[in-house]
């Protein structure tokens, strides 16, 4: 195992949990990023402004990372563009069909012990691992 960062990952994870907790206890909302984005791409009247504010915060946080922690954008692996396009289409389509992603199902739903989120999380980790396994074998890594 190389590149293992348990402390930073735990701390970062707790910040994610803190952010999601604030959304829940203050705004009463689930911090599921794919759902928040989808609600901006297909707006519903009266349910859009908080989403835009959250996404603006996400981008502002990204800019802060660029200044204070530029290593956050040391991607390490950047797939070729055609692969990234297919990946993006799958992520966009799959998160809508499955009603959530790593944040909505993986963090918020698993914490609530929601059966749907537990199954969804196990499923996407499994197919993600399967994809990486197949890709590494096909490309001989």
């Amino acid at each position: 195992m190389h590149n293992f960062t348990p402390i930073a990952s735990l701390l970062g994870g707790m910040l994610i949990g803190l952010s999601a907790s604030a959304m829940l206890l203050l705004d009463g909302k689930i911090a599921g990023i794919s759902g928040i984005l989808a609600g901006v791409l297909k707006p519903v009247a009266g349910d859009t402004r908080w989403r835009i504010c959250f996404l603006a915060g996400l981008l502002t946080g990204g800019m802060a990372l660029g200044v204070f922690l530029p290593t956050a954008f040391d991607f390490g692996i950047i797939r070729p563009l055609p692969m990234l396009i297919v990946a993006g289409l799958l992520v966009g389509f799959g998160t809508r069909l499955g009603s959530g992603c790593t944040s909505g199902h993986g963090v918020c739903g698993v914490s609530r012990l929601s059966p749907r989120s537990l199954v969804a999380t196990a499923t996407f980790v499994f197919t993600g691992a399967l994809t990486v396994y197949l890709l590494n074998h096909l490309t001989g890594n």
Binding site: S9, I16, D27, I30, L59, G76, A87, G94, A129
Partner: protein, 155 residues
């Protein structure tokens, strides 16, 4: 207004968490998903940290009649498992493993100005539109199929 500020601040903290934890680096994501290779367990710690905090928040929520800055909680209530959920999660996972980005880190990484991230995010948005088009087409098709029944009902 306060609720919108909370949304903005939460988005900001969320992005910092993603960056500090390593989620914005596809090498860490793909390393985590590489169970049969040089497995990098870091992302399990991200989930553990996030879930530990949110688990407590969710229990605090149970004691509150309403959120502090909004009239009511908007929390999913469904408990049934269906094909859409599992198929959707399976498709998402394949894309996650393929690209190394999930939605939050991809949006956060737009701030890096890296062109491949931009390409991924545009494709992700198109994938979301594709889903709503497919849903609409299927709804229209099933609407046509049951239209005779509707007609008799209306009559």
């Amino acid at each position: 207004m306060k609720a919108l500020l909370t949304s903005f601040a939460s988005g900001l903290v969320f992005a910092l968490g993603l960056g500090i934890s390593g989620m914005t680096q596809p090498i860490k994501v793909i390393g985590f998903l590489d169970f049969f290779g040089a497995w990098d367990a870091s992302l399990a710690f991200v989930m553990a940290g996030a879930i530990a905090v949110y688990f407590v928040a969710y229990r605090i929520r149970a004691t509150m009649p309403a959120p502090l800055l909004a009239p009511k909680f908007a929390i999913p209530t469904r408990n049934d498992l269906d094909v859409k959920l599992i198929l959707g999660a399976a498709i998402f996972g394949a894309g996650w493993g393929l690209g190394g980005f999930c939605p939050g880190p991809a949006l956060t990484s737009l701030a890096s100005g890296a062109m491949p991230v931009f390409v991924f995010v545009v494709a992700m948005g198109l994938g979301m539109y594709l889903h709503s088009w497919v849903t609409e087409i299927r709804a229209t098709a099933s609407g046509l199929a049951i239209s005779p029944a509707n007609t008799t009902q209306d009559a």
